[in-house]
Symmetry: C2
């Protein structure tokens, strides 16, 4: 009897029986992921890759969690701007700052990346990194999504959480490589994704070391951006932080194109994945146009480059961890 129990437990845990991606519908996307992982982890396979080289990189906004109507980090920045402006209105030194303070997202969006960076610079500055992390965590714990009313940290994609776990179970290391701010992402990545601070690559703000009169050293965010981890910056950020080319990369917009291009141009088996937002009912439907997460070139070239285009509406049985 004891032997039987032991065998049953082994079978239940066995890789052949357990579905590592239960929220993915059976189909080409799921099959391609599993075939790739099995090919690079099977020592008998010609595509075998040692665990140290099993680097997988993921974009965050629109790939691991939602990004509509605007990157959540900018919802945070707007809330902070309103708070700071209520204390001292003189910080509103430009049209884009005044528009953000007034909740005029159209004007902010029209100002493009430069406008967003200006808001970020004003709101993510004048505090230590530790203070920033605490403020961001507090905000995430108490803020709901403007459309769905759900806590923001619950708006992650269940199928992608399963993919992260599956890859880690197969001795991959999983990294976030995001255009978002590295400190903002670190404030929730460990709790939300199981990704520790040192496996987060992101846009970096000017950070300064100083020692107070009492001898206490601090690292402070002083405003301004020293590195933008987006588009062609993503392979650069990967090389700075990881120091070697991933074998797996996942994104959802043209901001991830260079990361997928560089990842899949390496020798041996490679995997590029694009999350295509096709599900207006359960999430949002968008691609070639808009202010956030534009996917245009990637949509045209994914098939030709052998990248898997994940159709959220059809490939995902479930979108959200806490719902359908």
């Amino acid at each position: 009897m004891r032997h039987f129990v032991f065998t049953a437990a082994l079978l239940a845990a066995g890789p052949c029986l357990a579905d590592p991606l239960p929220s993915w519908n059976d189909g080409a996307s799921k099959s391609a992921i599993i075939a790739f992982v099995e090919s690079v982890t099977d020592p008998a396979s010609p595509d075998y890759v040692t665990p140290a080289d099993r680097i997988a990189t993921f974009d965050n906004d629109g790939t691991l969690w939602a990004e509509q109507p605007l990157y959540f980090q900018f919802l945070f920045a707007f809330d902070r701007l309103r708070k700071l402006a209520a204390e001292d209105e003189s910080i509103l030194t430009s049209d884009v700052l005044r528009a953000a303070n007034a909740g005029d997202l159209e004007t902010v969006a029209a100002a493009g990346e430069a406008g967003l960076l200006e808001i970020q610079s004003v709101t993510h500055a004048g505090m230590t990194v530790d203070e920033f992390l605490a403020e961001s965590r507090q905000w995430l714990a108490t803020t709901q999504h403007p459309d769905t009313g759900k806590p923001l940290v619950t708006m992650t994609y269940q199928p992608m959480l399963e993919l992260l776990s599956y890859l880690r179970d197969e001795d991959f290391t999983t990294w976030i490589v995001s255009g978002g701010g590295i400190d903002f992402i670190r404030s929730f990545a460990d709790d939300t994704y199981g990704i520790p601070p040192w496996q987060v690559v992101g846009t970096e703000a000017n950070t300064v070391y100083a020692v107070g009169e009492d001898g206490t050293p601090t690292l402070s965010k002083e405003g301004g951006v020293t590195f933008i981890d987006d588009k062609e910056g993503k392979p650069v950020g990967i090389m700075r932080h990881i120091g070697q080319r991933p074998i797996f990369a996942a994104g959802n917009s043209d901001g991830d194109f260079a990361m997928l291009e560089w990842t899949t141009a390496g020798d041996g088996a490679r995997f590029g994945l694009i999350v295509h937002h096709t599900d207006a009912e359960r999430e949002f439907a968008y691609d070639r146009e808009g202010h956030v997460g534009v996917l245009d070139r990637g949509l045209d070239e994914a098939a030709g480059r052998g990248w898997v285009l994940v159709d959220m509406a059809n490939d995902w049985r479930r979108v959200w961890p806490d719902g359908e």
Copy 2:
């Protein structure tokens, strides 16, 4: 008999019997290291630290390997400069470049950090990161130390290699945080120290992503430095790459002062270690003066700050992996 063999093997491998630091003489330095490690790894200790937070950072030049008569990376840069100048003398556009090409170390040293950065910029540019890594590995495999005649990669410190292994055995992650170039260090850190590329923090050169006409993407070193990981830059580099404060930091010069200051200012048990080069016979003796590895403030303040000052001549039974 079988049982006996099993027990003997266990005893031989047991943490109570094996000396984790056999090349360290018994004394205050060794005792302090072991007491610290035991206190943060014992779940019953008030100083217990979970493995995820057991971050240990090490300077490289003068801490893990030798740095006299000049940082080895600059020996590499000079060799490359001579090679490039032999092909095209017009690259020697300044006094410091001409001096370096002529082997005039006095003039180069007098030009200080700016001079060295100029040489680095000229010699570490115009090639892909992969080409640079290959060139650096090739050079390290074929170059002997100008004084000792030993291969450079054998001029690591055996006691520090043991310390790295000891900490990793106790579930620390070990990082290099060096003023040296991140790519140069990555070219040997895994083979030499067992430290993978993503656990190397260093000075960063301007790196550019581009796609060739045939569609092949590359990351190239284009000259110029985007981040200097020295002095107050070290805590900044740590925050960029690791994202949390270490509990253990080791260095040998005032370039490491801020790293030790920031590390040991954190809450809970902390450890700061300075390698003091006191051994003219087996290695080199230097501290307050010179062009390389100046240790002045650290020497004055180590005791007051509770940092362990390692006396190479007295604390180390053996210096080199392959000799005395």
